[in-house]
């Protein structure tokens, strides 16, 4: 696949503060999660990609065209900012139709699109209420609506799930995935790891303005060889299983869960362990209820990389 968004040696600083340092990325269509703690440089990256800032060094391009001051590209971009900010005293409907008109839609088209988008984000019934009377979750949704209402093929979402309740988060995640299935290029940032994990496995980890890692979360996890894989096994007799692995040199550590029914194994050779486990299960006829990888998630990978 060809890259839709490309950054080369992208650097940005604010006075003496480094915002982003030497970031080279190729982002293809689909969802890319931008993950990092607050102040990591996620918003700076998004502002550079959306042409709100000019890089100090390097370049950012969309389909080969530089973004900075290239406003003709912006009809292809939908941006949902992090900040909870709106024009004073406008209703959801006025806000959305006003911004659609800015994108070049006629009054009738803007009304039609606003109506459809408000329905998608489930705000149709509240469209005539002032935004300042909306709950935080509703404001997040109307902000999301303005980013997608003009049907952009690149959607940049800066912390879109912030302030949403669990149900709202699930709905928005579903919406983002729906847009992905339409072939759009979506960048979503978050500092909450499970949120990103729920949307995509393709991630860019950013910390102190630098890219720590990028790619598939599971592949990244595999690359971290200095850290063992953690595998949790839930079965009726975990001690019997553990006994079979005591002499196995690929096992670094074994411990039992507090419930007495689970065994947590740390190993560098995950595939070898699973092959051996299969044999053990067949030999002992122990019924395995659940196998999970507690550290095969973004939090663990992020912690490992930052410590590294």
């Amino acid at each position: 696949m060809t890259a839709v968004i490309e950054t080369k040696n992208l650097s940005k600083w604010y006075g003496n503060v480094l915002g982003l340092s030497d970031v080279s990325l190729e982002i293809e269509s689909g969802i890319t999660g931008l993950l990092g703690p607050n102040g990591a440089g996620k918003s700076t990256f998004m502002k550079l990609v959306t042409g709100q800032m000019k890089p100090n060094i390097g370049r950012v391009s969309i389909d080969g065209q530089d973004v900075w001051n290239n406003f003709r590209l912006f009809s292809r971009i939908g941006f949902c900012p992090e900040q909870d900010a709106f024009y004073a005293d406008v209703t959801g409907w006025e806000f959305l139709t006003g911004l659609l008109r800015l994108s070049g839609y006629s009054g009738a088209d803007a009304a039609d699109r606003a109506s459809r988008t408000l329905k998608i984000v489930e705000l149709s019934e509240d469209k005539d209420r002032k935004i300042r009377s909306y709950s935080r979750g509703m404001r997040q949704r109307v902000k999301f609506a303005q980013a997608v209402a003009h049907d952009p093929d690149i959607i940049i979402l800066d912390e879109p799930l912030s302030g949403l309740d669990p149900l709202g988060k699930r709905r928005l995640i579903r919406l983002v995935k729906d847009f992905q299935s339409e072939g759009k290029t979506i960048i979503v940032s978050s500092h909450v790891l499970p949120e990103i994990e729920a949307m995509t496995s393709r991630i860019v980890m950013i910390h102190q303005g630098k890219i720590l890692a990028q790619g598939d979360i599971h592949s990244i996890r595999d690359l971290i060889e200095s850290y063992p894989h953690m595998i949790s096994l839930k079965c009726g007799d975990p001690r019997a299983v553990a006994a079979r692995f005591v002499s196995d040199t690929s096992i670094l550590k074994m411990s039992f869960g507090p419930d007495g029914r689970s065994l947590v194994v740390e190993t560098h050779k995950r595939d070898a362990f699973f092959n051996r486990l299969q044999a053990v299960v067949l030999e002992t006829a122990i019924e395995v209820e659940e196998i999970t990888s507690p550290d095969d998630n973004l939090q663990a990978v992020f912690d490992y990389l930052v410590v590294k």
């Binding site: 959306t50 001051n69 009809s75 005293d89 006003g98 800015l102 070049g104």
Partner: protein, 268 residues
């Protein structure tokens, strides 16, 4: 994407029109506009009172109107309106953190700035003209049949409009690069602009209000407000119009250039 949208993006003119329409709408809804609309009622109320109190003394009434024109409209209302609307063109977007809604749209930055400037100038001109209309015709009601009266109104409204355009351009320029533009604007609008009128020589030509007053009716010296009168001969009206136009265009050009090239960061 909508196939009806020009894939090449909008022209400067289209950007201007879209932003102008949005901010004509948004500008009307702000609390600031309501306050300034009420402010415009002050001279109307004064006009009503003067007409009642000075009934039958038409020359005195006209003289009072001229004082209102010079003191309220020229040296106060258009300055305060321009100051608040002009500096807010950029400041309200950065302080309200709404700038990204504009700058991530397919709009030329120059079009964004000019569109918002034009929308706010239009709102101010409408507010001032409405106030001027009522106060002018209430106080000059006895001259309804004179065609010259209507020309005079148009001249005053036009001069105030030009003043608004020039002051707003200046304050908008300050707002593009100063964080506390409103304070600097206050010092300029109500400090320098007033004080310089009483400097000897031609220093007063370094103020906008000098050219505004040059377009207003001449007043006789003396009376309680004589301190507000010219110490020097006013500039010729054509020169005043030209200079106000040049000032508006120059500051607008500078402001557009700054807005196009400068990055605006939201304060944490």
């Amino acid at each position: 994407m909508n196939p009806n949208i020009n894939p090449g993006g909008p022209s400067l003119w289209m950007s201007f029109r879209r932003v102008f329409a949005l901010f004509c709408f948004l500008g009307r809804k702000t609390g600031k506009s309501r306050v300034f609309l009420l402010l415009g009622l002050i001279p109307v109320a004064i006009a009503v009172v003067v007409r009642i109190v000075m009934a039958g003394r038409s020359e005195d009434v006209v003289a009072v109107f001229n004082e209102i024109l010079m003191v309220f409209y020229v040296t106060f209302e258009i300055v305060i309106l321009s100051l608040f609307y002009g500096t807010s063109i950029v400041a309200e977007e950065t302080e309200g953190r709404t700038l990204s809604y504009l700058t991530t749209r397919p709009l030329a930055k120059t079009g964004i700035f000019l569109g918002k400037y034009a929308a706010y100038v239009t709102l101010m001109v409408l507010m001032v003209s409405a106030s001027l209309f009522f106060s002018f015709f209430i106080m000059n009601g006895h001259r309804f049949r004179e065609p010259a009266l209507y020309l005079m109104f148009l001249r005053y409204a036009g001069a105030l409009g030009l003043g608004i355009a020039a002051y707003t351009a200046l304050f908008a320029f300050l707002g593009t690069f100063l964080k506390r533009a409103i304070l600097i604007g206050l010092l300029f609008g109500f400090g320098w602009e007033n004080v310089v009128q009483y400097f000897p020589g031609s220093t007063q030509r370094l103020s906008l209000v000098h050219y505004m007053k040059s377009l207003m009716p001449r007043r006789a010296a003396g009376g309680p407000l004589s301190i507000l009168l010219f110490r020097l001969e006013p500039s010729k009206p054509a020169v005043a119009v030209l200079i106000l136009t040049v000032i508006a265009a120059a500051f607008l050009g500078l402001a557009c250039w700054l807005f196009r090239t400068k990055e605006y960061l939201y304060e944490e």
